[in-house]
Subunit: 419 residues, 2 copies
């Protein structure tokens, strides 16, 4: 398994101009979103580019929770710009958009569907060389700075899907906790839930040696290879940090220790799930986001309705882990203990319920919306939610327990109300 380069430290962003010089970059594309373009993280990057005389163009039209159309807009910009390096400053939305722009600019003859995951797209392997991409995350959530994944909302099909290839993994991730200080409460919370689910899902994913089919030629194996001894280390470590620091990071924007630790945990969990994969919370989240009606989350400075990614994954987590705990109950119990459950008298066969209860309590304490119903869904939506989950095989098949359509329906139903 391959793991990206990261640089960590308060203020390390100021070196980015030098990094670009070292790369010999002469035309840099700086991507961000309209909200961030006025905030300190982008400012820090601009200062460094100026100091080292780096020639660049800004694209700040990234859509929060990107769509095929918003990816295409960024791709057009990148194709026209003939850039020799990319810098993405933002959350997963920005970093993912920049990965797609870099990929399609390097492959000008490709159709958009060529690299999109099968069965929705053609899932072609990437064989063209990409330009270097430096990712500067400003949320503590996706770990996109360490992964070869770019996610978008396919509007026509009303479902989220993505592009997955080691080739689009950033060349360098700059983990500078100073950037987390401007995040409002709900963005810290939702992106933190993404870390929580990356850690829980990759730790409980189907083990790497039970995955099938296992292509005999290593070159054909997917980036998501199932849980394994290396990803386990990252997942557990990230989970411990989430347990210790997420609440503090949400509640107190001045708690630099907590915010810095969550920023690292995001990258750690990213390295874990980038190798192991995620499963049902993520598979089911894609239609939850894709079918959004009118929900407008607090603290998101955007003009369209959206279900933030971290919220869309965490709302089903109690139901999902109650369902998957049949397989590897001991890992589910261990996770519950890390998250604060007292398991001294617990019975192993209750592992799923214990983890589910622990998660519900965790979310309740953090004022999370009470289930899918609270963000606008009702029973009548379940068939569409299930239909949107079915094509997400790339992740759902990593669930330790196989699921039927009825199982998925039941999981959505159980997630309508949490408390």
């Amino acid at each position: 398994m391959a793991i990206s380069n990261i640089r960590y430290g308060e203020g390390v962003t100021k070196e980015i101009g030098m990094d670009l010089q070292n790369l010999g970059a002469r035309r840099v594309c700086l991507m961000t979103d309209k909200n961030l373009s006025k905030l300190p993280p982008v400012n820090a990057v601009l200062n460094s580019l100026a100091k080292y005389g780096i020639n660049f163009q800004i694209y700040d039209n990234v859509r929060v929770e990107p769509t095929d159309q918003s990816f295409l807009d960024a791709i057009r910009f990148a194709r026209k710009g003939e850039f020799d390096a990319y810098v993405a400053v933002g959350g997963g939305s920005v970093i993912d958009t920049c990965k797609a722009a870099n990929l399609y600019a390097a492959s000008p003859a490709s159709e958009f569907l060529d690299y999109v995951n099968a069965p929705i797209g053609k899932g072609k392997p990437v064989t063209v060389p990409l330009k270097p991409l430096i990712a500067v995350p400003t949320t503590s959530g996706t770990g996109s700075e360490t992964t070869g994944v770019a996610i978008f909302d396919f509007k026509e099909l009303k479902v989220k899907t993505g592009i997955a290839s080691r080739a689009i993994k950033p060349t360098l991730g700059i983990i500078d906790p100073l950037h987390t200080l401007s995040m409002p409460e709900r963005i810290v919370a939702n992106s933190g839930f993404d870390v929580l689910c990356h850690a829980l899902e990759s730790y409980t994913a189907l083990p790497y040696n039970m995955r099938s089919p296992c292509p005999s030629n290593p070159i054909n194996r997917p980036a998501y290879q199932g849980s394994n001894p290396v990803s386990d280390v990252w997942a557990l470590h990230a989970l411990r940090i989430v347990a210790k620091y997420l609440k503090r990071a949400i509640r107190n924007p001045e708690d630099r220790e907590a915010r810095a630790n969550m920023h690292l945990a995001s990258a750690f969990a990213g390295i874990g799930f980038g190798n192991a994969g995620v499963h049902l919370c993520h598979g089911m989240s894609y239609p939850i986001s894709g079918l959004v009606k009118t929900y407008k989350p607090k603290d998101y400075n955007v003009d369209h309705s959206l279900v933030p990614h971290g919220l869309s994954v965490v709302l089903t987590s109690p139901a999902v882990f109650a369902f998957t705990a049949q397989i590897h109950p001991e890992r589910h119990l261990e996770a519950a203990e890390i998250l604060g459950a007292d398991i001294r008298t617990a019975r192993i066969k209750d592992a799923g319920f214990i983890l589910a209860d622990t998660l519900r309590k965790f979310l309740f304490d953090l004022n999370v919306d009470d289930g899918l119903a609270a963000i606008g869904y009702s029973k009548a939506d379940i068939p569409a939610l299930v239909k949107g989950t079915l094509p997400q095989e790339r992740v759902t098949k990593l669930s330790p327990r196989p699921q039927t359509e009825e199982d998925l329906s039941a999981l959505f139903e159980a997630s309508m109300k949490l408390y």
Copy 2:
């Protein structure tokens, strides 16, 4: 920081022929040592090469604990062979030799000293492209499959030194625990001590943000950057595995679980120290190995006297950690606890003694030679040992506590007898 690719699993060696095909290799150099060339690990590789019709030449003249001369012999072989890929099957001696052969074959005009660490060599940065190298470790010790380091004994100067560059890091490490089953007891023990010291030294190394000078341009920063939040994860995880499995792996060659875990721990600790660095145990070990008199360790099937690397690092470890614990005593105490010490009533100012005692007990239980005196050194050798340590600045300057020549003398003296 960058982390190598690894593939883990019983039997995964059988895929190596396919890996070489995927790399388009047409002339492969297979390196090993004379002892291993008759053992199952090399056999497994040969079978796979045959199955996939890979054209190769064998070099089995690697010296256990390599020297400048033995490196040069392998380099001559590599330069003549015009290989397009390398496979190293063996312990650190083989993998390190293969790294050097690959480097100098790719740089035919270079003098040997060009890439050797300063101040002994010129420490030039590597700018030539190397051929892919697949490392198949057969000991559970050096983690060389994950590092950009190659160590040898500079005979003329009677001191060990090395080559350090990200460029020589293997393309892929194949961690196949089946290979550990043929290891005799003392090789498991000594290579395991290397893992123990990699973990302890990288966890206690000078923190990355206290290192000086810190070159302002990231490209000039050394691979060894001091302890940091990422290397800490690997170091602690490796230490926990050592605490749980090393004794079992040594005592029972049939204990596959223990041997497999130590094989992974070796790679984990390698990733940790490959990013953070090691310090005094390693810095002082180089003259301990380099000045060897007549010591011939049990279980090493070789015709020259040698102090195995793992033994040369671990014998000074009680003295070293008693000395360094002034700085970060809490980390020393935590390490002692992981290794089995009861620290409930411990005082933080005794952290160094507690860790030292724990290590002494650990070594005593495993029948380790009673200090430097037991492997042939006496007080009269101390000035030469100190002199051999002084040029090892690359690592000794990562000690959390700076040392004078008198300090080094005292550390060697305290390591003469352990029990």
